[in-house]
């Protein structure tokens, strides 16, 4: 029961269209799909799947516009590699090669660019993938925020991987590989506008080893996603919407760092909507959930993994949260970026 496509009714692009929420969805479905739609693009997955001589290739791209360029726990170079590696990994693919495009602002320090490129190289090595091709453009001062990076990647999909929202069934369990919201809050705090003294590092990391370990469980693994922009809430809302199931989360089971909870509390932001850059959300069959959790927990990146909820038949299309307080509520898709509340 796929819902009908969102319509784009705005006359101008606003920042909300880049937030990953409903406004982004309207832009993608109401403009890009209408103009560019084709069988490869239409599923709007993390990566497109191509058939080639009996093999399946995953193909994806992502642009990085983070400010500041360097932040606790990472930088734009590392992020650009991990983000694309992760999009391939959650498509069930082993990354084969990446491309890198750099849009550099006039006046950018060469030493800094070298540092960021070296960081990219380290991240690529860690993920076992090469940056095989690239492009550089320099724009006038003021035309780019220092540096924008785009990466694309191709990967080989495991022959027996059967991932997709159509496989998800009521009763399946929802797992996350670790604490939520670390990247988004680390970057927000690193901007220095909040005057909060919190030690918090981005979680940027490649999750391909976690996905590879889970994929050994075969068809019990139904659906994988890396909950980046828009956080866990957005990823699960897309699942619920596209597959017509409900997802029920248990608030008390969500792994959250106290620093993230505290900063979110002060800003009136819900950590469920905050970006992650080295986390995995997995839907697995109920009888495989314990083994999936064990496998995630056995990896250093999965030390805080947890079973956080389950798939239900009703209320179809919605994500609900059973609060630690004993009530329940809907976790809806946001319209735009989460905005701090005034009181």
């Amino acid at each position: 029961m796929k819902q009908r496509r969102a319509r784009l009714r705005d006359e101008l692009i606003t920042l909300a269209h880049g937030s990953g929420g409903k406004a982004s969805r309207a832009l993608i479905e109401g403009l890009f799909l209408e103009e560019l739609g084709n069988p490869l693009l239409n599923p709007l997955g993390d990566a497109a799947l191509l058939e080639l001589n009996g093999s399946r290739l995953a193909f994806t791209t992502d642009s990085y516009v983070v400010h500041p360029l360097e932040f606790p726990g990472g930088d734009i170079g590392e992020l650009a590699v991990n983000g694309t590696v992760n999009d391939l990994a959650v498509a069930g693919a082993t990354p084969l090669a990446l491309s890198a495009g750099f849009v550099v602002e006039e006046g950018f320090e060469v030493a800094r660019l070298r540092r960021l490129a070296a960081s990219m190289a380290r991240a690529a090595e860690r993920a076992g993938v090469a940056v095989a091709t690239g492009d550089t453009k320099v724009v006038e001062r003021g035309k780019a925020d220092g540096l924008y990076v785009n990466t694309a990647g191709i990967g080989l999909v495991a022959a027996d991987a059967r991932l997709g929202e159509e496989n998800v069934r009521a009763g399946d369990r929802v797992l996350v590989s670790g604490t939520l919201g670390d990247h988004g809050m680390a970057v927000m705090i690193a901007r220095g506008e909040l005057q909060l003294e919190v030690e918090l590092a981005s979680d940027t990391a490649p999750v391909h080893e976690l996905t590879a370990s889970l994929l050994e469980l075969g068809e019990s693994v139904r659906w994988l996603r890396d909950p980046t922009r828009g956080g866990l809430a957005t990823a699960l809302n897309e699942l619920a919407r596209d597959s017509g199931v409900a997802v029920a989360l248990e608030e008390a089971a969500l792994p959250l760092r106290p620093e993230v909870v505290g900063a979110c509390e002060i800003l009136g932001i819900d950590p469920l909507y905050v970006a992650n850059e080295g986390k995995l959300v997995a839907v697995v069959a109920a009888d495989a959930a314990a083994e999936a959790l064990r496998r995630l927990g056995a990896h250093e990146l999965g030390a805080d993994a947890a079973i956080v909820g389950e798939v239900r038949a009703e209320p179809a299309g919605l994500v609900v949260l059973e609060t630690a307080f004993g009530g329940s509520r809907i976790v809806d898709m946001l319209v735009g970026d989460p905005l701090p509340r005034i009181c």
Partner: protein, 368 residues
Amino acid sequence: MRYVDEFRDGGLAQKLSHEIAGLAEPDRVVKIMEVCGGHTHAIYKHGVEQLVPDEVDFVHGPGCPVCVIPMGRVDDAIALAERPEVIFTTFGDMLRVPGGRGSLLEAKARGADVRMVYSPLDALELARRNPEREVVFFAIGFETTAPATALTLLRARAEGVRNFSAFCNHVTIGPPLRAILDSPGLRLDAFIAPGHVSTVIGTRPYDFIVEEYGRPVVVTAFEPLDILHAVVMLLRQLREGRCQVENQYTRVVRRDGNPRALAALAETMELRDTFEWRGLGWIEHSALKLRPELAEWDAEARFELPGDRVDDPKACQCGEVLIGAIKPWECRVFGTACTPERPIGTCMVSSEGACAAYYNYGRLTVPA
């Protein structure tokens, strides 16, 4: 998290929930208005409604400072923001609120220099760092946020920062409550009064609700346990035939409020004769403007504003939601023409508004 988790203890919640069930009288529905948007948000965020019996009915009041700003004032803000010399600063949740000519976020996309700040002091700092620009702060909120604006204005005057001004839309909590109590369709039995506002104004300003209208009041903090506790206190008052202003938020709120904050307010602001509230219409003495002595820092005095009124959309039934006459989902446009993406009425514009809170969090419990 210390100082937060203690107020969200599920075990204690069950105890209070049980106590409320014992106090509620079968088939007698008690309608309790939580005045403040912060309470509305907490009720939905934590699922508090599911912990009270059907005989306790929360009605979501007018205390969302973002929601009550009339569309014409948003248009004035956009006109200020569009002046080339102006850096227009605002709290984040005001960015998406639509006026007659769209939202500040859309004005920003058209080229206006609109920046989100976390405090009026951030706006003052922007003024110091950009002496060639005019920095205007969109001052909104009840007595909670007004003192921060007041102190910022006093600091700007003391330091002689002349490229800073406030576009003052601060409102007061008492007059809209009286307007609601005077409305003909009223069906309210008791009030959960706002906590943060009361840290500033104290509990005396609610005396008229018990004295003139005979409705019990409990000044309440914002954690879900606080709200359940307040329900217990109100049901006890009703059961024992008492009608008092009680203070649940004793850890912060004093009977006479915060004298320093009140002094700063009195020094910088005075009551307007009347002010328009989105969804409620014009209410006398319900808002603040800057005193004439501070005209140099008053955006309304320094810049020419369109000042056009924009009617609330006709389809909107926010006024009836706000007095508890109908529930959000009973409005004829709720969830269809009026959604958080395309809000028509005040209650849908911010996540603290009754309809938006209901739409975002609570649609689970809509009766079929």
